[in-house]
Structures are given as C-alpha cells and as structure tokens.
C-alpha cells in the first residue's frame, strides 16, 4: 500500500472549517454536561448533601434571636437570611472551585495537552468550562432555595425586587467567573492547594456575612469583606429578596456599582495573571503535570 493510500484511508471526510469561539465554548459545555449526566446517582446525592446544610440552619434558626438582623436593616428572619447566604456562597464556591478541579481532572487524565495542542485557545476552554460550572451550580442553588421555601423561608418578591435581584445575580456570576480564572491560573502553577479557592471559601464565610450580619464583626475586621464581591452580592440580594427593595434603594445601587467596579478592575488583571501562569507552565513543559 502506498503512503498516499494510507493517508487517504486515515483521512476523515468531515470538512474542516474555522469554528468560532462561542461554538467551541458551547461544545465544551455540551461535552461536560454529557459526562456530568452519566453520574446521575452522584448528582442526586450531591443535591441531597447540599440540602443538609439548609436543614441544619433550619434548626440553628430556632435558637437564634433576630436582633442583629434588624440592626443590619434586614427582615427579622434568620432562616431566610442564612438560606440565602449558604445557597449563594455554596453556589459561587462550587462554581469557582470546580473550575480548578476541571483543570486538575484534565491534567490527571492526560487530556490537557491534547486539548491545548489543538487550535482551541485556553481562553475558550476556560470560558466553556466556567460557563458549564455556573450553569450546573444554578441547579444546586435552585434546589437549596426550593428546600428553604419548603422549610418556610419568606421571600418578598415584586417587579422591582425581581429586576434588581436578576441584575445582581448576573454581576455575581460575572465577578466570580473572574475569581475562577485566577484560581485556574494558580492551579496550573501549584497543581494542588489552590490558595485563591481556599481564600475565597474561608474568607468569604468569615467576612462576607454568609451566616451573620457584618455588623457583628469588629470595625477592624469589616474592611476584609469589602475585598470580596460576594459581600456586595449577598447584601444586595438579601435586601431584594428579604425586604423587597429595588433599584430605588440607595443600598442596592451602591452594591450594584461596587460589583461593576470590581469586574472592571479585576477582569484585566485576572486575564493578565492567567496568561503569565499559562505561558510560564508551557515554557516549563508542565501543562499536563499533576
């Protein structure tokens, strides 16, 4: 058999054309969804485990006095306060950390170099991976909030509060996708023990007011929470969903502007940081290392 014949035999007949970034990102989402869907038991159990958090705070709320919530300007309902806090923190944390996990998984399976040796850029890969994580995270967020509704959380919904909550949710996702990119850059270099994800998990639990209003923190600690977009997102969304406030509230406007400012400042930095980490890892030939 001649070489030309072998090449012809091996060649695929699918015409190769330029595939747009959005199409590729969408292909990653579909690929990850297909893998995710094969673990149906895993999905069910994961939802159940996240629901145990909600159930735990249902009982904790029974021994809590709402005075600190009233002082902070929220409705006197700790169950609603904590369920919103836990659900959103869990949502953004799993979305952010699973992006780093996805990179580890590709490295572990030895597919990282395969993907990146194709014409797909790492940015498109990241966009697809992070979009998928946030879409799947929404599933868990809705399950937690649904469980909260069953246990008696009280949401004050009106057209104004729904619009404001929707805008704040979009800003929440956008700002945390940026943190996810920073985490992904760290995992490329460090392989394990991503400090961005760690810092995000624990510092936000401590200083973003997930389980208690920030008024309880001493003044010298309150500033730490200002560094995290979750602080503004939580405050804004709680005011929308617990108090029924909309964009006519100065606090909602303030939180929205702060989130937009965060995105504008941190986005270019995170992309620059990621490029540095990516190039350095490529130079070292350590992209597939774990």
């Amino acid at each position: 058999m001649k070489v030309e014949d072998i090449v012809k035999y091996m060649a695929e007949n699918i015409p190769r054309g330029r595939v747009g970034a959005v199409e590729k990102a969408f292909a990653f989402i579909i690929r990850d969804f297909k893998i995710w869907w094969t673990y149906k038991l895993w999905i069910t159990l994961d939802i159940l485990s996240s629901l145990t958090f909600v159930a735990t705070y249902y009982f904790v709320s029974m021994i809590i006095t709402p005075q600190a919530l009233i002082d902070a300007g929220y409705a006197a309902d700790y169950l609603t306060f904590s369920v919103i806090g836990i659900s959103l923190q869990h949502y953004v944390f799993t979305s952010v950390s699973s992006l780093s996990d996805a990179i580890r998984e590709e490295q572990w399976n030895g597919t990282m170099e395969t993907i990146l040796s194709s014409t797909t850029s790492f940015r498109v890969f990241l966009l697809g991976e992070s979009a998928f994580r946030f879409i799947i995270g929404s599933y868990f967020l809705l399950a937690s909030l649904g469980m909260g509704v069953l246990l008696g959380i009280r949401l004050v919904l009106n057209p104004g509060s729904i619009i404001a909550a929707s805008v704040l949710t979009i800003l929440l996702v956008a700002s945390h996708m940026i943190i996810g990119v920073l985490g992904a850059a760290m995992i490329l270099k460090l392989k394990q023990g991503d400090p961005i994800v760690w810092a995000f998990s624990w510092l936000t639990q401590l200083f973003s007011g997930v389980l208690y209003p920030l008024g309880l923190l001493p003044d010298w600690l309150k500033w730490v929470g200002n560094a995290f977009p979750l602080t503004y997102s939580l405050d804004g969304l709680r005011r929308c969903l617990m108090n029924g406030e909309g964009f006519d509230s100065p606090m909602i406007m303030e939180n929205t502007l702060k989130l937009m400012l965060f995105i504008m400042v941190v986005l270019p930095f995170s992309l620059w940081f990621f490029k540095k980490a990516y190039d350095s890892t490529r130079r070292e030939g350590a992209l597939g290392q774990y």
Partner: protein, 292 residues
Amino acid sequence: MNKLEILKLFMVEEKRSKSSLRQLSAVIWAQLKMMLAYKSWLIMDLLSTFASVVMYYFVGMQVDPVRLSQSGWGTSYLAFSLVGVATSNYLWACLTRLSHSIQHEIRGGTLETIAVTPINMFMFFIGLTARGYLVSLIYLVGVFTIGVYGLGAKLSFTPQSLLLFITLFVLMLVSNQALGLVAAGIIMVYKRGDPLVFILAAVNEFLAGVLYPLELLKRFPAVQLLSMLFPYTYALDGMRRVLILGASILDVNVLTDMVVLGVFSMVLVPLGLKMLGWGYNRIRREGTTSSY
C-alpha cells in the same frame, strides 16, 4: 555487561522486613511524605481551622442563651458548637478517607503494584487512613486551642473529664471507622461510590446535631429516630456532656452512650473487616484492581 552484573546493579541491599508493624509504619511514612509535599495545602488547612472556629464564634453572638439552655447545654453556643466542629472532622476521616485513598491508588495504577508485593494488605489499608487521622488531629487540637484559649469557650478540661472524653472519642473512632471499612469494601467493587460515602457523612453530621441541640428534633420523631441509628450521635452527646456539663462516668447518659457505642463497635468491626476483605478479594478475582 552480563546478566549478573545488571541484577547486582538493580539489587537493593536493604533487608526486607516481614514485620507487619514495619510495613504499617512505612505506609504511614509514605502518606506523610506525600502530605508534606503539598505545603501550601497544609498551611491553608491550618488557617481554615482558625477560620471555622471564629465563624462559629460570630454565629454564637446571635444565639439566644435562654433557648440554648432550655435544651440543656448551658448558655454558650461557642462551647456547644466547638465540640461538634472539632470532632466532626474525624467523622469524615473515618467514613471517607480509606475509600477515597483506595480509589486514588486504583486510579493511579498503584494498587495493583502494591498487591503483588508481599505486603500485608490489611496493614496497607490501615496505613492509608493515617493521613486523614493526622490532619483531623491537627484540626481537633487547633479548634479546641483557639476556642478555649483564644475565644474563651468554657470547657471542662480536668484529668477525669479528659480521660472520659478520650474513651468516648476512641469508641467513636472504632465504630465509625468500621462503617468506613464497609464503605471501602463496597467502593472497591462498584468504583464510583464516593458520593455515597459523602452523603452518609453529611447526613450523619446533620443528624448528630453538630450545630444544633438534638432536642429540637423532637418535633420530627421520624428524623429523631433516624439520628439514633448512627454511632456519632451517641459519641457527640457523651463528649458534650463530659466537656460542657462536666459529667462523670457515673452519669447515666454518659454510661448509656458508652454502652451503645460499644455495641455498635462489636457489631460493625467484624462486618467492616468482612466487607473490606470481600471487596479486595473480589476485585482481585475479577482482575479489576486497576480499573476505574
């Protein structure tokens, strides 16, 4: 170079020990070396210990002391949550660590390699849990130190109460590790079973009342009944009675907790060993020691 010279070059001069204890210490040593290789991870884990205690300190500021004391656990939520938070990490280590490590070895293709060596596999499996136990110990000591000496939680740390606490704690480890052996045996055979163990630990933690008094479950008799099926519920109850209320071994509730934990251990340990053996023998028979 002839065959003998090549063999000599590769030959290890060290004497091979058949002692199970030496094998165990070697596996533990290997686990520790791997743990220390990820220094940033270790530092972060230590810092997270501090963060978790401080978080419950602030949650405690919102707790109504009257409502907490009505449940019979004194007025300090920090002290109440501290015992739960400090010990729950061990619950996770007991239930999930071994199965997770075995899966890790299978995935890395090293279980098969180890299985063909003359190592005592039981010692190998025990050694695999060492990392989880050590991390949990650091966490436990850290949580109690920060909570008691840094944030002022009032816990009874007399020699008698410490001895009683350690007894209850060991019973908790034995009974829960036995459940971990059952889980590991099943996961070895059915592979992706991690979420199952994860949900078992999460539900166990919830039902044992790590963050709330179990007396609140009285409104839900079915849930309360379910909580009584797990050994950690009794261990936590006993440890809290000893450390928060200063109860002695003569306390009926503490004695009951110890007896129940003893019964759990006697039933679960043989079952756990049997399941672990069953799982290991089955994957060897089926030739799936390296498939995942």
